[in-house]
């Protein structure tokens, strides 16, 4: 059974179509990336998945069922626009919001204690939210999202405002959640984070799906006919290379279409060059993103 299935969802606001015939599914036990430029319709899509706003048409099912009141308890949602009661203490904040998810106080306190321990935030349990830094608040907010052991976790820009140490910590927890068989949807601007964590992605632009599927397949589809090379000394003129682009520490060689990378490597080795690096150039997700979004802008 899929964790979420969104099929042919459309949502318009007064003056624009925010989501236009979008379909995708997220499996249990996977980390799914939802990416797209600002205003692409990511948050609207997430809000429809959370039943916070209703689609004009199309359907969303969560764990094979239409949205009901009990569905909310299976979900953990970290919205992009997030906050906590400023005057409330950390532990009270976590247990109160856990109680809204149907958790009793005692187990909520225990779980909150565990998560505070894991994130190194135990010392903050009696601090008021207003006394904390933004980054600390983010961690507490993340704990609130997962304290009730949700089966589907939706994280909208979870890394914004976090320092590198806490970013790594959050990534670790995300991977743990995935390994526990939970579905995690990650919506982010930082492509490197998505690239590092996600198995599959959906790229949206102007409310429509631009790319959808397995990340490695998508990347191999975008694989160009070029190799990255680092040799001792100058590579010199190489037959079969149409263009040479110098980068720091390596050169990118664009092949002419008749030559395969294998042939180029053989030529290099036979010419006696010492090869430190020879790599097929696969574009980063960021490059694919820029390419796709740029194409749409044109």
């Amino acid at each position: 059974m899929q964790a979420v299935e969104v099929s042919h969802v459309v949502k318009s606001f007064a003056d624009k179509v925010a989501v236009d015939d979008l379909s995708f599914a997220v499996n249990q036990g996977e980390l799914f990336g939802l990416i797209g430029p600002n205003g692409a319709g990511k948050t609207t899509t997430i809000r429809m998945m959370m039943d916070i706003i209703k689609p004009d048409s199309g359907e969303v099912t969560v764990f094979g069922e239409k949205f009901g009141e009990t569905t909310l308890n299976k979900l953990g949602y970290l919205p992009e626009e997030r906050g906590l009661y400023k005057k409330l203490k950390v532990l009270d904040s976590i247990t109160y919001l856990a109680s809204l998810k149907g958790m009793d106080r005692r187990p909520a306190e225990e779980k909150a204690g565990e998560l505070l321990e894991r994130t190194g935030m135990s010392y903050t349990r009696n601090m008021k939210i207003e006394e904390m830094s933004k980054g600390m608040g983010q961690i507490i907010q993340f704990i609130v999202t997962i304290v009730h052991d949700p089966q589907l976790v939706i994280l909208d820009e979870p890394f914004s405002g976090l320092d590198p140490v806490n970013t790594e910590l959050l990534k670790e927890i995300c991977i743990d959640l995935k390994n526990q068989g939970k579905a995690v949807i990650l919506s982010a601007h930082q492509m490197n984070q998505v690239e590092e964590l996600c198995d599959r992605i959906l790229m949206v632009n102007n409310g429509r799906a631009v790319l959808y599927g397995d990340l490695s397949e998508i990347k191999s589809n975008y694989k160009g006919n070029s190799v990255l090379l680092d040799v001792e000394g100058e590579p010199g003129d190489l037959p079969g290379v149409a263009e040479k682009r110098a980068h720091k520490g390596y050169v990118e060689l664009v092949l002419d279409g008749k030559t395969t990378p294998q042939q180029l490597l053989e030529r290099l080795v036979s010419s006696g060059k010492v090869v430190n690096r020879f790599e097929m150039a696969t574009p980063s997700l960021n490059e694919i993103f820029l390419k796709e979004v740029g194409k749409n802008k044109k």
Partner: protein, 382 residues
């Protein structure tokens, strides 16, 4: 606020009791005023407690006595008094009009002197005594009605309606402020990931409703006890205070309905306001209506039968406070009460439905407050 009102009342009773034990009643000071009798014959009854009258043969002497501070003022019974009734008064004080005590003392002095020897003494007393009028209200069957009216009947509804108006304002502000703060601190979407918009709205409305009900219950239960205590302390007026029939039941009903209406209105306003401050400002528009019946309460006492009170009793936002006030002043026809209640309930349902839509559309919109036209357009397309 819930406990403060009964506690303050208790404190007031205690202070009065304490003061009455400590302080002995002060002696009333006698005032001396002069008069000049241009007709003659006004010589008796010169002591009109607490005013003493001293006769001066001429106006010059009277003026000299006034300037020497022997008298606080003097009056001249003019030669034409018997035909014109004219009496000239002279004083050093700047006044709007003669003090009522002085007026009635002069009147009694003049009447007594005119009538003396012509009618029996008790007739003079009867003429001078103020009107002693008692009213008894009868029912349609001619029996003495249990509810007699009068100020004794007004005092509790008046206090209650004032407290009701204050609490409606207080809670409307509280609701809008709460929502505004949740919007400002970006908590709304976190909450909406755990509860539906309807649950959030109904929860807030019911939460405030129950808080209001506890408040009114505490006030109403403490009322008879406080009255008992007050009448044993003050006696007099307080022992005659009555609570109008149906008042307690209607008080609770209007309190709850008033709360629900104001909470529903505040939910809508809270949802469209980008922050707590703007929300509270907007809420003043309808909160003010709860106060309107109090502005006109003195007119209600003078003209209790005006159609204006019917309108205010039916208009949902003014109805709770107006009906409470009117219960103390006059009878409210059954049809008016029925229309008032039905309209109030319908408006709660309507506003709640509208607020739910506004909630869905605007709760997650931050930034500028939308214009009214935009709100209407959006809830129609929602």
């Amino acid at each position: 606020m819930t406990l403060i009102v009964p506690v303050l009342a208790l404190l007031a009773i205690g202070i009065v009791q304490l003061v009455s034990v400590i302080i002995e009643p002060a002696e009333v000071e006698t005032t001396t005023i002069g008069y000049v009798d241009e007709i003659g014959g006004f010589e008796q009854y010169t002591v009109q407690d607490p005013i003493e009258l001293v006769r001066y043969p001429t106006q010059d002497e009277a003026t000299a006595a006034l300037l020497a501070d022997d008298v606080s003022e003097y009056f001249v019974i003019s030669a034409s008094y018997t035909s014109t009734g004219l009496v000239n008064r002279y004083t050093l004080e700047k006044q709007l009009e003669p003090p009522p005590g002085i007026q009635s003392a002069i009147k009694r002095f003049l009447t007594s002197n005119i009538l003396t020897g012509k009618v029996p003494e008790n007739t003079i007393q009867l003429v001078e005594a103020p009107l002693y009028l008692t009213t008894t209200r009868l029912t349609e069957t001619g029996a003495v009605a249990t509810e007699q009216g009068g100020y004794e009947n007004l005092i509790i509804p008046a206090i209650f309606s004032l407290l009701l108006a204050l609490s409606l304002n207080f809670f409307a502000g509280y609701m809008v402020q709460g929502l505004g703060e949740e919007k400002e601190s970006r908590l709304i979407e976190v909450l909406l990931s755990s509860v539906t918009t309807r649950q959030l709205l109904v929860g807030k409305v019911l939460g405030l409703g129950v808080a209001g009900l506890v408040q009114v219950a505490v006030w109403l239960v403490s009322l008879p006890l406080l009255l008992n205590l007050a009448s044993s302390t003050f006696g007099g007026f307080f022992s005659t205070i009555q609570i109008p029939g149906n008042f307690i039941i209607l008080g609770i009903v209007y309190f709850i309905l008033g709360y629900l209406l104001f909470a529903a209105l505040s939910a809508g306003v809270g949802a469209v306001s980008p922050n707590a401050r703007e929300g509270v400002q907007l809420s003043l528009i309808y909160s003010m209506f709860a106060i309107v019946p109090l502005w006109f309460s003195s007119l209600l006492m003078i003209f209790p039968k005006s159609w204006i009170w019917t309108v205010l009793s039916i208009f949902p936002v003014t109805a709770p406070v107006e009906v409470m006030l009117r219960l103390g002043v006059s009878e409210i026809p059954a049809w008016e009460m029925a229309v008032s209640l039905v309209l109030l309930v319908l408006s709660i349902i309507g506003v709640l439905a509208l607020s739910t839509r506004i909630f869905r559309v605007y709760l997650l919109m931050y930034g500028k407050r939308p214009a009214l036209g935009e709100v209407l357009r959006n809830i129609r397309s929602e």
